[in-house]
């Protein structure tokens, strides 16, 4: 077991089996390629995507079907290759992959979810990619709740 410092959860222990590995980290954070997903039981279904190399980097995320129950995942061939997924078909959420939408919380503004570029995690091997959807109509700022974000 290894230890890491987290943004919201103090110091935690994790094993290599917990690590989600990006070929290249999320856009803007390409050098952060190793993350773990933290799921406090009382905060279901919220997922904290915590960087292992940068303690202060932790994205809040929700399973994408929680944000949009009809979400259609369309990954380009390059993204399927990056997540080591079969190239001949689209992956199925919940069977092949876990699909998360990163949330943005800003003081005084509605909380939004990035449906344009979900984080896709291969359930077999934990390879991950932030994939920009080939489907043109999803927003990078899908309003999740109209209420102003609960920010400190």
């Amino acid at each position: 077991m290894s230890k890491c410092l987290t943004k919201y959860h103090g110091e935690i222990e994790y094993s290599e089996n917990d690590v989600v590995q990006f070929e290249r980290g999320p856009f803007g954070f390409e050098s952060n390629s190793r993350f773990i997903m933290l799921v406090p039981p009382t905060m279901t279904p919220l997922v904290f995507l915590q960087s292992l190399s940068t303690p202060g980097l932790c994205f809040l995320a929700l399973p994408i079907l929680v944000v949009d129950r009809n979400y259609k995942l369309t990954l380009g061939t390059e993204d399927r290759r990056a997540a080591v997924l079969p190239v001949e078909r689209q992956p199925v959420i919940g069977e092949d992959v876990l699909c998360l939408a990163i949330l943005t919380l800003q003081q005084g503004l509605p909380t939004t979810a990035n449906l344009m570029a979900p984080v896709v995690v291969n359930l077999d091997n934990r390879k991950a990619v932030q994939a920009i959807s080939s489907e043109g109509s999803y927003s990078h700022r899908h309003i999740f709740t109209q209420a102003a974000a609960a920010c400190s």
């Binding site: 917990d18 856009f27 954070f29 997903m37 919220l46 919940g94």
Partner: protein
Amino acid sequence: MLVMRRRTGEAVLIGNDIEIHILSIHRSNVKIGIKAPRSIPVCAREVELVRQENLVAALSMYDPPAFMSQLRQVFERDSVQDISDQKTDMKREALNGKDQSKEAPCRQVQSPR
């Protein structure tokens, strides 16, 4: 915005150093070739949008109890099902997959302080 029409094989020049070539057109898809100095970053617009959004998302500092109560309100508003059932179902499906042998690599932790 400067608007012009181009056919396959034609090009657009921007300044002295940038060329945009229309390589092929197939249905609603255009293949574009871009010649530019390395010092000028070139990327699809969505990439830059997502990069900016990730940066803002990374700066989010949230208040756990207030945010959880917002989440619960959203679920109450959106569904007539029992909230805990829906969240459990969605969590189980989204995180663990329909095939229970494929465990999602999630770490259970205490709620943040």
